[in-house]
Subunit: 239 residues, 2 copies
DNA sequence: GTGTGAATAAATCTCGAGAAAAAATATTGA
DNA sequence: TCAATATTTTTTCTCGAGATTTATTCACAC
């Protein structure tokens, strides 16, 4: 399954087991909206779609409960976790709380190797942002990866495995919201400038400024989702 | 299984399914130390012990991964999550971060019904603390429940489901540490005075004072675990 | 004695079928 | 026509057995 509990969410290493394979593919499909919020996840249907047995698929769904991407109701099966504006506001606020604390710790404790990895991650992200102008879907996927990588690098020097664990879950959640809203509104704001400022203040070890920028940065994502059509947001559409 | 993702950890409602039943019993046994940290959890052995099939027990173990009480390593089975001083320090700090924020929100937003439930929970806890003097194991269990109830009531008015979700996980984790250390050191410090101060400042809506007391309160638990024998803390003992 | 490698043992992972429960449909009676 | 009940269908839950993988034991050479 996963190597360790607290670093499991982003475990994209090659799957050692059928359960883990199905788990990873299902997670991707839920985040990308292939399975929309609120959708009933019937084991009998999905097992063919993902080429595994019924029991195996059930285990994969159980693992997704850990990420809060799937909800399970006893004796009534599984369902894609619903979404709502309120939930995303909550995710955003909690993410700010955790991520700014982690960044503060990183800035205080990070060594040279941490600095180097931040520089590298920022460089890779910048490159991806250059190629992002035309709406190329695979370039967007690459940007998504590198964006996450950059954010991970920033807080990597935090000694708190728990904060990073929770942050992983919340980042994943907000990625789902962003993906769904991205269909309509493709990377409007000048995100590169924000990343640049975040990068500069972090390397300057200016914790106050860096956390303030990070807060603004995360809040802006909330705004972009706020402006999207509301009919997207009720996970109540089911047959 | 569980009714909703974000309020699943303390779901002590009667189990609707065999998986959930096994999950609850296993969770209790892990927290109480029946299965010590680091222990290998062999499905073939446990399925008889908990009277369920192998697949069912696997699913219960998978659910425990959500609580970070069990770690799963692909193709190499399950294991009780190890413990360490560093981990408990991390748990404590993160818990303070989340719980003080939630308390601050509760104090700011809580209405009359919230106040009433806090008063009630404090009263019940106080009664349990009176009967706690002689080391009675069932009285201790009752105190444990009411203590958790009181802490839950304090932050119940926080609108953040995510903070409460994470706080649940962390409380559960620290309960395991406390239980293990309690074998040696039975409720030494005067915990009632702390609860009283926490209660008074909360009802007075003094957020600064209340969060300061809560921080001290949680930190003291860390100290009591710090002073316990270290040979208890390496989850490496296995056959 | 130590280390390498094959053979054995044990555990995990995977699957499909049967039992139990929930949901959907049809039937009956006012 | 509507409501309540009975039947059918669908879905979930549960189990044990077979296939893989990992761990252990034992023999053998160095």
């Amino acid at each position: 399954m996963s190597e360790a509990v607290l670093s499991q969410a982003p475990a994209s290493a090659e799957p050692k087991t059928l359960v883990e394979g199905a788990y990873q593919r299902l997670r991707r499909d839920i985040i990308e909206g292939v399975h929309p919020p609120g959708e009933k996840l019937r084991v009998e249907h999905l097992k063919d779609q993902y080429d595994v047995g019924a029991g195996t698929l059930r285990e994969a769904l159980l693992l997704l409960v850990t990420d809060a991407l799937v909800v399970a109701q006893g004796q009534r099966g599984f369902r894609v976790a619903p979404i709502s504006i309120e939930d995303f506001e909550d995710i955003t606020r909690t993410r700010i709380l955790l991520e700014t604390e982690a960044l503060r710790q990183s800035i205080a404790l990070g060594g040279e190797d941490w600095e180097a990895s931040v520089v590298a991650a920022f460089h890779r992200l910048s490159r991806a942002e250059q190629k992002l102008s035309d709406h190329d879907s695979e370039a967007a996927d690459e940007w998504e990866k590198r964006n996450r990588n950059f954010h991970d690098a920033l807080i990597a020097a935090s000694p708190s495995r728990w904060i990073r664990h929770f942050q992983n879950i919340l980042y994943q959640q907000s990625e789902r919201y962003r993906r769904i809203s991205l269909f309509r509104q493709p990377v409007a704001r000048d995100v590169h400038a924000e990343h640049q400022a975040l990068f500069d203040s972090t390397l300057a070890r200016d914790a106050e400024r860096a956390t303030a920028i990070l807060t603004e940065h995360i809040l802006r994502t909330l705004d972009s989702v706020r402006h999207m059509p509301t009919d997207f947001l009720d996970g109540t559409s089911r047959r």
